[in-house]
């Protein structure tokens, strides 16, 4: 049977960009970024296990400008993936799946993730919790 030339659904060229699909894609992207972050975390533990000089080396890498930018990105990815993951778990038990509520909860998740990232770095850089 030949392939009919019917439009595909969803037809991506005419599909209106929305909060729901944007955040869904962001969930995936942050997830992949955090998988790379898992490699960084295990490398950090490996360096700690290897001894003082390797731990100082890896802390130097994380302390560099590129390292700090990566950590900033990973921290936002973590807080976003965490909050949106909880939103997904709520959907799994059939809570908050209504279209309008899901749009609002998505915006809340982004706001909370930004706030948590700022709070984390605020405490980290001022040493407030210590």
């Amino acid at each position: 049977m030949s392939q009919p030339s019917r439009p595909l659904s969803p037809h991506l060229q005419v599909y209106r960009w929305q909060v729901s699909n944007t955040l869904s894609i962001l969930h995936r992207m942050t997830g992949v970024a955090l998988s790379v972050g898992a490699v960084a975390l295990v490398s950090w533990l490996l360096a700690l296990a290897a001894g003082q000089s390797s731990f100082q080396q890896i802390n130097g890498l994380f302390g560099s400008l590129v390292g700090q930018m990566l950590l900033l990105g990973w921290s936002f990815a973590f807080f976003y993936h965490l909050c949106n993951g909880i939103r997904h778990l709520a959907w799994d038990v059939d809570r908050g799946f209504d279209k309008h509520f899901a749009r609002k909860s998505g915006l809340v998740v982004v706001g909370v993730a930004v706030l948590l990232t700022l709070a984390f770095w605020g405490v980290a850089l001022t040493g407030g919790a210590a």
Partner: protein
């Protein structure tokens, strides 16, 4: 009336030849990661410094070492499941898909082994 073969009904598997195990494991590891990852983030903030001796002493405490090992297991497991789905969704050539899936799986096993063994080394060395 079911259109499945008797064997298909007995196995309870869908057209993808797998059941709900993957979905369920992803949820279970996600639920485990909520407290574990938050504990790790808050603990890092609570440390008086991030120098070798402070972090070693903290990580070597039995409870912390166990929680770190659990964090590594849950994180790597969740990552393995998640990246698997991403690869399955975007790689359409059967050959390269199998290669990528295999490499992802092996890399995650290596990552888990490295993480758990590191935590073990940190915990056992501190007492010496």
């Amino acid at each position: 009336m079911s259109l499945k073969s008797p064997l298909g009904s007995a196995l309870g598997l869908g057209s993808a030849n797998s059941g709900t195990e993957h979905w369920w494991a992803q949820r279970l590891s996600a639920v485990a990661l909520v407290p574990l990852a938050l504990w790790f983030a808050v603990s890092l903030l609570g440390l008086p410094g991030l120098d070798y001796y402070t972090v070693s002493a903290w990580a070597a405490a039995p409870l912390h070492a166990i929680l770190l090992a659990l964090l590594v297991v849950a994180l790597v497991y969740h990552s393995a499941l998640g990246t698997q789905v991403v690869a399955e969704d975007y790689i359409h050539t059967p050959g390269s898909r199998i290669v990528v899936l295999a490499l992802l799986r092996l890399a995650h096993i290596a990552l888990a082994a490295a993480g758990i063994f590191s935590v073990f080394l940190i915990a056992t060395r501190a007492g010496a």
